[in-house]
């Protein structure tokens, strides 16, 4: 449990987000383009991190479904910044030794001739440390 609390505090510090300001309106999840792909949705990330219930989030594929499009950040009426919470959870997950979500040697088979370099850079920023 103590380790769990440390992870919660680390996630809050990294994100800089004010999860305690959330009033549970659900607008973040309502506007999320990845809603259908997620097991845990943006409002649940905010609520569960606030409660310290982070282990389930760290293990969930949902952290890799967020597009960081910032629609939730822009439209939150309370300035909670859910995308930054999700980003912090993802980093907490992949910063652990051996936990990169994507490795460079997986990339060649995913390529086609038009893929912009920008896409590879972004993906490695999101999936690997």
């Amino acid at each position: 449990m103590e380790n769990n609390n440390r992870k919660k505090e680390q996630i809050l510090r990294m994100s800089g987000a004010a999860v305690q300001k959330c009033m549970r309106c659900g607008k973040c999840s309502a506007t999320c383009p990845s809603y259908d792909e997620m097991e845990y949705h943006p409002h649940e990330f905010v609520y569960m991190v606030e409660r310290g219930d982070v282990e389930k989030l760290l293990k969930s594929e949902s952290v890799y479904k967020c597009l960081t499009c910032f629609a939730c950040v822009e439209r939150c009426p309370r300035g909670v910044e859910p995308a930054k919470v999700i980003e912090a959870v993802r980093l907490e997950a992949i910063r652990e030794q051996g936990k990169n979500h994507m490795k460079p040697d997986q990339i060649p088979e995913l390529l086609d001739e038009d893929i912009p370099g920008q896409l590879l850079m972004m993906a490695l920023r999101k999936y690997a440390k």
Binding site: T68, E74, L110, Q118, A123
Partner: protein, 261 residues
């Protein structure tokens, strides 16, 4: 006038048209884009975590170079713009970031966020002016219905980027009007194309891109324009029934008579 220019990785490879036409059109409008020396890739995505330093250093180096060469950095790519501007903003709100970056880099002159980051469209709007741009158009795109695609990176987070209204932007529509064409306003113009998810989950990207393109087609668009190479890739490759997507700089160069037929 000379202005420090940050092209970014993709404009030197898959998006050469975005780069070339930006430079040629700027020259026709009285601006020389001077490429920053030894620039490094911005990383494509800004990491919002407060304790991330190393991934932001390439952007800091470009910003410092811009400060020393006229005070500004001009970009064309939406992702570069987003990364450079968010990195620059971090200096003003996160003293720990400022201290650690300067400790690590030990630059001759410390960097504290002094440069201004400018998108090419902002140069057109705020400095050249769309009215003046309209006067330079020699081949107006008459009768064309063009859907501007903003996506995410140009608009959000709006309190940092301050590019345009995040929900009801008009800069690209006014750009389209200046070129003599008719802008198409459609609901999905500021919703995500799927971004980097296309590498891992092509189906999810297809859903996002198809929704954007269908929305533009429903409102009668002939083609779409964008500033982002990844948006262009997603919209053309992943939409179920795509329409042409072009870089805004190519359309600009065409209207200025810089593209031979």
């Amino acid at each position: 006038m000379k202005i420090a220019y940050y092209p970014g990785c993709t404009l030197k490879n898959k998006a050469k048209d975005l780069d070339r036409y930006a430079i040629e059109a700027a020259a026709a409008l009285g601006y020389e884009l001077e490429e920053i020396e030894n620039w490094q890739c911005c990383g494509g995505a800004y990491t919002s975590a407060k304790d991330e330093i190393a991934t932001k250093l390439p952007a800091v180096r470009a910003l410092a170079n811009g400060r020393d060469n006229g005070g500004r950095v001009l970009t064309v790519c939406s992702a570069c713009y987003n990364v450079l501007k968010q990195t620059n903003h971090e200096f003003t709100v996160n003293p720990d970031f400022d201290l650690r970056v300067n400790n690590y880099m030990k630059p001759d002159t410390e960097y504290h966020g002094e440069a201004d980051v400018l998108h090419y469209l902002e140069l057109l709007r705020d400095e050249i002016g769309f009215n003046n741009l309209a006067k330079k158009v020699v081949k107006p795109l008459k009768g064309k219905k063009i859907a501007a695609y903003y996506g995410c990176l140009l608009l959000r987070p709006s309190d940092v980027l301050a590019f345009d209204s995040p929900e009801n932007p008009e800069i690209m529509e006014n750009f389209i009007r200046a070129l003599g064409a008719e802008p198409v306003i459609y609901p999905m113009r500021n919703e995500c194309c799927g971004g980097y998810i296309t590498l891992e989950d092509r189906n999810q990207a297809k859903k996002r891109s198809s929704a954007v393109v269908e929305s533009a087609k429903d409102m009668g668009a002939d083609f779409m324009i964008t500033a982002c190479p990844l948006c262009l890739y997603n919209l053309t490759k992943n939409a179920n029934d795509p329409i042409p997507v072009r870089y805004f700089t190519e359309v600009l160069a065409e209207a200025l008579g810089l593209i031979e037929e």
